[in-house]
Every structure is written in structure tokens, then in C-alpha cells.
């Protein structure tokens, strides 16, 4: 039996889980009100991976995630209003409306981007890790991705290079069982799409319960310690489940009702609340965290709603480092 985490860590993890859950639910509500435009890929049900890893990171570590990146961006410290504002295409958005839901980025928080092309960010994370190694900073880079990504070339090229160069990078697969609409097992030659490929790159096979935030946090700390010690990359496969469809266009009718029901009993937020109360933390303490998170989400929603659309001039800025867009004299 592993030792329980210190109580402040447990409460921080719980708070993060609740904040991510409520913000993501609010994103869905805003979509239903037609206030969120474009597409959005919700991370409901997958909060424990984001919370566990983010709280194990140092402030100056680098994280890279996919278009299902709301949780990961918030978990690094980006404000709820800036995230919701970006989904709504408002001036207060994290990218002032220039990126949208699939590109949330907050460099000041080490959230180095959400990448909308499957697998693209995995070599990029290795590149950030190369900078850390080159400069001897002790930073690590983390790349989060889905099970579907394990069948794309960039994943394999990056794992090989990172292993050969012993880069301080941690590759985190959130295996939610479906690539988009298709079950991952029906299109993958191995049972565990990430972990079973680890041996090909001389890495350890690591599979964890991605809905158990304590386990995620502990695993993250081990992988980070290894990376910071100069012992190279890790590949972690987290078993989890998304509560909603692939994107807002997807009602996820392809998933058996029994399977959904079973996974809902393993909801990461409920699981953790039950564990903490079992450890003697008063329900009133957790209720207070819930209430505070809801208040924060409500306030963020109002800020985002009140924010105007971005100034049109922004469309004509920042192609180049000088801030401009000129391609000729």
C-alpha cells in the first residue's frame, strides 16, 4: 500500500479536478447557448491526467497538449476567463480570438500550445526538452496525446529520437479507448496502444489508472525525477474515458451503454472525493472547494461574456516577429 499524499497536495488535486470539471461543463453550456463557435473537444472524464501531471510539474516545465486541451491549459494556471473567452472568440481570450479552442496556449504558464494536427506536438516537445538538456536547466517537457496518436509517424519518430538523445521529456498517452469514433483496439496491432510500443524504443512499459489522480501524480513525479536526473524519456499510458463524444458534433452513439455506465462509476472527481472523505477529510471542506470553484467559473463566464470581440486589426498582426504581416517592400 502506497503512502497517502500529504493533505495539502490532496486538497490541491481535488480543487484542480473540480475546477477543470466545472469549467469544461460550462464550456458545454456555452456551446448549447451558441456562444462557443467552431469546434470544441471536451476533456470531461479525463481531468485526473491533467491535474495529476500539472501539479507534479515545476512552474518552468513545458507542457504540450492536443486540441482536447482545455484541461491541460487550465491546469498549468491559465485563467478560466481567458480560456472561456478564447472559446467564445472574445478579446479577453488567451489568444485574443486568433487561435480558438484547438490552440489554447499560455507561454507564461509553460503551456506551450494545443496542437490540432495529430502527433505534431510530440517531436516539438522533444525539441523543448533538447533546449533544456542543452542549457542544463533541469526543466522537463511533457506531451499529452490520445490513443489514436500512437498510430501516427510523428509519435514513433519522436520516441526514437528522444530515447537516442536521452531527452528530458515525458510522453503521456490518455487512452480513452476511442481514436475518434472508432475503437482503438480495432485499428491497432497491440492491446495497449502506447505501452506495448515502449519496448521498441528501449522504454519501460508503464500503464496506470488515469482516473486515479493520486496514481497519476505519483507516476508523474517518478517520470520527472528520471528525466531531471538525465536518464531520458518515459512513456506513460493512462487508461481513462471521455464522458462526451469526440467533438461537439459527436453524440458518441457508437459506445455501448454498459461501457459508458461502467466508466461513469469510475468518474475521477467522484472517486477522489470518496477517497478523501474516507481518509477523514470533512465533506464540508470539500463542499467549500466545490462552491469556490463554481463561484470562480461563474465570474469567469461573466468576464468572458462581457468581453468584446477582438479588434479587426488583430487579424493583420503577428505573422512575423516584428509584429507585422508584410511579405514585400
Amino acid at each position: 500500500m502506497k503512502d497517502d499524499l500529504p493533505k495539502p497536495t490532496q486538497l490541491a488535486l481535488y480543487k484542480m479536478l473540480v475546477e477543470l470539471r466545472l469549467t469544461e461543463k460550462r464550456a458545454y453550456d456555452l456551446f448549447l447557448q451558441n456562444l462557443v463557435k467552431g469546434t470544441s473537444h471536451l476533456g470531461l472524464g479525463q481531468e485526473a491526467v491533467a491535474a495529476g501531471f500539472a501539479l507534479a510539474m515545476n512552474k518552468d516545465d513545458y507542457s504540450f497538449c492536443t486540441y482536447r486541451g482545455h484541461n491541460h491549459t487550465l491546469a498549468r494556471g491559465a485563467s478560466m476567463a481567458a480560456v472561456l473567452g478564447e472559446l467564445m472568440g472574445r478579446e479577453c481570450g488567451l489568444l485574443a480570438g486568433k487561435g480558438g479552442s484547438m490552440h489554447l496556449t499560455s507561454v507564461e504558464h509553460g503551456a506551450m500550445g494545443s496542437y490540432a494536427i495529430i502527433g505534431a506536438h510530440i517531436p516539438v516537445a522533444a525539441g523543448a526538452a533538447w533546449t533544456a538538456q542543452y542549457r542544463g536547466t533541469g526543466q522537463v517537457a511533457v506531451a499529452f496525446f490520445g490513443d489514436g496518436t500512437t498510430n501516427i509517424g510523428a509519435f514513433h519518430e519522436a520516441l526514437n529520437l528522444a530515447a537516442v538523445w536521452k531527452l528530458p521529456v515525458v510522453f503521456v498517452c490518455e487512452n480513452n479507448l476511442y481514436m475518434e469514433y472508432t475503437p482503438i483496439h480495432s485499428v491497432t496491432a497491440v492491446k495497449n496502444p502506447a505501452a506495448d510500443r515502449a519496448a521498441a524504443y528501449g522504454l519501460e512499459s508503464i500503464i496506470i489508472d488515469g482516473n486515479d489522480v493520486d496514481e497519476v501524480y505519483r507516476t508523474a513525479r517518478q517520470a520527472f525525477a528520471k528525466a531531471r536526473a538525465g536518464d531520458g524519456p518515459s512513456l506513460v499510458e493512462c487508461k481513462t474515458y471521455r464522458h462526451s463524444g469526440h467533438s461537439r458534433a459527436d453524440p458518441a452513439h457508437y459506445r455501448p451503454a454498459e461501457e459508458v455506465k461502467e466508466w461513469l462509476t469510475r468518474d475521477p472527481v467522484t472517486l477522489y472525493r470518496t477517497r478523501l472523505t474516507g481518509l477523514g477529510i470533512a465533506a464540508s471542506v470539500l463542499d467549500a472547494i466545490d462552491a469556490e470553484a463554481l463561484k470562480a467559473v461563474n465570474e469567469a463566464t461573466e468576464i468572458a461574456k462581457a468581453s468584446p470581440p477582438p479588434a479587426i486589426e488583430l487579424a493583420y498582426r503577428d505573422v512575423w516577429a516584428n509584429g507585422g504581416t508584410e511579405w514585400r517592400n
Binding site: I122, P123, G127, A128
Partner: protein
Amino acid sequence: MAELSYRDAVAAAIAQEMERDESVVFLGEDIAAAGGVFKTTVGLLERFGPRRVRDTPISELAILGVTMGAAMTGLRPIAEIMFSDFLACCWDYVANEIPKTRYMTNGQFAMPLVIRTANGSGSRFGAQHSQSVENWAMAIPGLKVVAPSTPADLKGLLAAAIRDPDPVIFFEHKALYALKGEVPDGEHVEPLGKAKVLREGSDITIVALAAMVHRALQAADVLQKEHGISATVVDLRSLVPLDTQTLLAAVSKTGRLFTVEENPRLCGWGAEIASIAAEECFHDLDTPIVRITTPHIPLPAADQLEDAVVPSVERIVNTIRKFADFKSTALGGL
């Protein structure tokens, strides 16, 4: 001034910049221990060590992804993609990631990186190792596109590309690697985005890039000596930024514009040049703008076939004589 080959100018530029800036690093396939398949990077590993000059696996996605991640976090990486044709293997980085990240994130990143690549025909390598693909890169907002024609420009422009805060695709022409020329001694940097007028003439303007610059110059000699046609020859040197001032000034003066392009016909860079000239100096034009390009076909391998399709001195001369209707002007003579 020392004489240097176009090939040796590559290593000279990289060494110059690595010497002055510790954040410059270099990676690619066979670039370190082997000195590059075209022997352009010989000696860099010995001089700067494996920490800064790194061989990679044959993984173009990883090469450009790692390059991008390093640039986003403060290094100034130079990546080599061995043949420009292979850019297609890592096109996501060229088209989607590297040029768009700064814009999409509302300016949160700079992307100071260089992708060096061997471009163009002349080596009889066939359709997948001989293409001229500078027009692919030109079509993407957020990339600077440079293609030098001489050893001095190679060194100076590559140095400028390495110092530039934006991503630069640097097209080295394979057929020019053996070309020798004078290169200024000491530190040499040429600003990006300035075309060079290599020859001043009064009748026509020929605009060219990389290997085609030399053919344009030879054609200009023939036109002058044998046909009394006086040509201005402009070496664009960079497609983005594009020096339209130099271009339009030359066209306005001569009234006739010909482009010489190695890329296949459709959407070649000359189409954009022609469009700009037509829009902005239409009234100065005496004859239609004519593009001399490789036809819209994949490149064949055999000597005779490749030579037949890439613009030759003869084809440039003949096309210019055919289209530049000197009878209708005060110049007369034809």
C-alpha cells in the same frame, strides 16, 4: 576576398554564426560525422562537437518538430532536410506548425529557425530528388524563402537567415555546389529581401533565381552579342520577403518582363511576379509578360530529357526573341 565554393560557403556561414552565438545548433541526417551527403557541412562536428552538431535518424518529422520546439524555447536551430523533395515528408511542420504558431497564439512565440535544403535539377536524380519546390514554400504565410545563386550570397544570406527571428526555408541549388566565387573576408551577412541587379540593360528585364540566374546571364550575353537586345538581369535572391521595388523599377525602365523559373509551370513564383507587374506597372509594359518555366510535368531522369525540359540558355534566348516584339517600338532592329 577569398575564393570559396558554393558548397564550402555553407559550412563557412554556419561556422561563422555558431562562433558568435552559443544558441545556434545544427541537426540533420548525415550532417555531422559524414559532413553531409553533398559535403556541405564538413568540419563542423570536429569544430563545434556533437552537442551542437547532431546527426539524426531518417525522421524528417522528428527533425522539423524538434527544430521547432528548440526554436520556441530559445535556441536558434538550423535543420537540414537532405533533398527539398523530402519537405513533403514533413509538410505539416512546414505548412501548419512552424509558420502559424506565432500568429495563432497572438504573438506568444518567436520561431527563429532555418531549414536548409538541396533543391533543383542537374544531378539526373529523377522526379523525387531534383524538383525545384521554392514555390511550395512561397505559398505559405509565415515563411521566409531564400535561394542564393553565388557563394558570396550563400554565405551572407545563410548567416542572415540564422540571425533572423522568423522561420526561413533556405534553398541551396544542387547544381551550384561546385561553383566557385569570391566571398568577402571576415564576417559576411547579406540582408534578406533585397534583389540584386546583376546586369543593367535597356530593352528587357529578365528575373531569375538560383541556378537560373546563371542561365539568364548567359542568355543576356547572347541576346546582346547576337541580336542587339540589351537585358537587365535581376537575381531575386529571396521570394519572401520579395523586393518588388527593385523588380518594378527594372520593369518600368525596360518595358518588358521575362521570368526564368525552374519550378513547374502552374503557380510557379513567376506567376506572382507577373501579377504584381501587371497590377502595378501595366502602363510601363510594351509587350506581354512572359514566363519561361519547366513545363507542368514531373522531372525525368535521363540527361537529355532533363536538359530538354528545364529552361536552357537557348530556350531563354529563343523565347525572348519570339515575344519581345521590337518592331513595334522605337528601338527597331528585329
